[in-house]
């Protein structure tokens, strides 16, 4: 049982890295392109939120 939790921990870590990385990256690119400053934080928050949602979908639903 602890082994399964161990696997979950690493998967969660992966999501929490790639969420902000991807959507933050999109935001950063938009900021560069449109010469603005607010897409990066929006992207980071969006990515973090989506990553948490994914974590909940994968590990929270089974209870």
């Amino acid at each position: 049982m602890s082994r399964i939790n161990e696997g979950a921990a690493w998967t969660i870590l992966g999501y929490l890295i790639s969420g902000p990385l991807f959507w933050g990256g999109i935001g950063w690119a938009l900021d560069k392109w449109l010469v603005t400053g607010y897409f990066l934080p929006i992207g980071l928050l969006l990515g973090m939120g989506a990553a948490l949602y994914l974590v909940w979908l994968r590990f929270g639903r089974e209870g």
Binding site: R3, E6, I17, G19, W23
Partner: protein, 262 residues
């Protein structure tokens, strides 16, 4: 690793170790395939082979000490990393997991073996290659097990989510499976070995520098060396742990690729 001679020639100034100290010159001429890490990899393969051939050559029911040592490592990887995590198909992957574990462990421990004292994995390319192999293995296994379309669908589309949300979630899944997983598994190994070696260099070279200083500094240098020794034991722990984690993650990824639903 810098030589003591160049260190003295630099005069009284202490130059802290940096990432430059990891770029070792070629041993034979200027052929860049003959650097120390490359020889360490070859050397590790030789000693691992000799050890396990010797340990399994005269296998008997009442094992010798050598056979017992070899079998303990094997049984540990097979049961704790293979069977517990991958499930009933685990035997197919034990050779890979075992090779990976022993190879990384040996190359990590090179970091604290006297006269060798260089962890191979503190050069990032070696860690990347291992990460790429693991990446290829677990995707290949998943595709073979599920068929390519079902495998991709399982990864990309989490069930039970309204369709528009996929725009938000699918890129994260792609990034996780294709970029973050192979990257983090490699970087974790590399960074631990790199930082550990740097830490050892700071304490040992610092102690040496203090020893060459004024009398007051000479008196403190034993503390630096003592810390260097303490860090060496700590590094041994980290080196074993990193070999374990790399193998564990590989097993988890393979197990995840074989699982029937995510």
């Amino acid at each position: 690793m810098r030589s003591m001679f160049s260190f003295r020639a630099e005069g009284g100034e202490f130059i802290p170790p940096s990432s430059k100290d990891f770029v070792l010159p070629p041993i034979f001429g200027d052929n860049e395939f003959t650097t120390k890490p490359i020889f360490l990899v070859i050397f590790s393969v030789i000693i691992i082979s000799i050890f396990f051939i010797a340990a399994s050559r005269k296998a008997s029911i009442v094992p010798s000490k050598l056979q017992f040592a070899g079998e303990s490592v094997y049984a540990y990887v097979r049961n704790d990393l293979g069977k517990d995590i991958i499930g009933h198909e685990f035997m197919r992957f034990v050779p890979y997991l075992f090779t990976l574990f022993v190879f990384i462990l040996t190359n990590n421990i090179f970091g604290i073996v006297p006269l060798i004292q260089f962890p191979t994995m503190s050069r990032i390319s070696f860690a990347y290659v291992l990460g790429i192999i693991t990446f290829a293995v677990f995707h290949y296994v998943g595709i073979r097990h599920h068929g390519i379309f079902k495998y991709l669908k399982d990864i990309l589309f989490m069930p039970g989510v309204p369709k528009p949300v996929y725009i938000l979630l699918t890129p994260i899944e792609i990034a996780t499976y294709l970029i973050v997983r192979p990257l983090t598994i490699s970087l974790r190994l590399f960074a631990n070995m790199f930082a550990g070696h740097l830490l050892l260099m700071i304490f040992i070279l610092g102690g040496h520098h203090l020893l060459e200083g004024a009398i007051g500094l000479k008196l403190v240098s034993p503390f630096a060396f003592a810390f260097g020794i303490a860090i060496t034991f700590f590094e041994f722990l980290v080196q074993c742990l990193q070999a374990y984690i790399f193998t564990l993650l590989t097993a988890l990824y393979i197990g995840g690729a074989l699982a029937d639903e995510h």
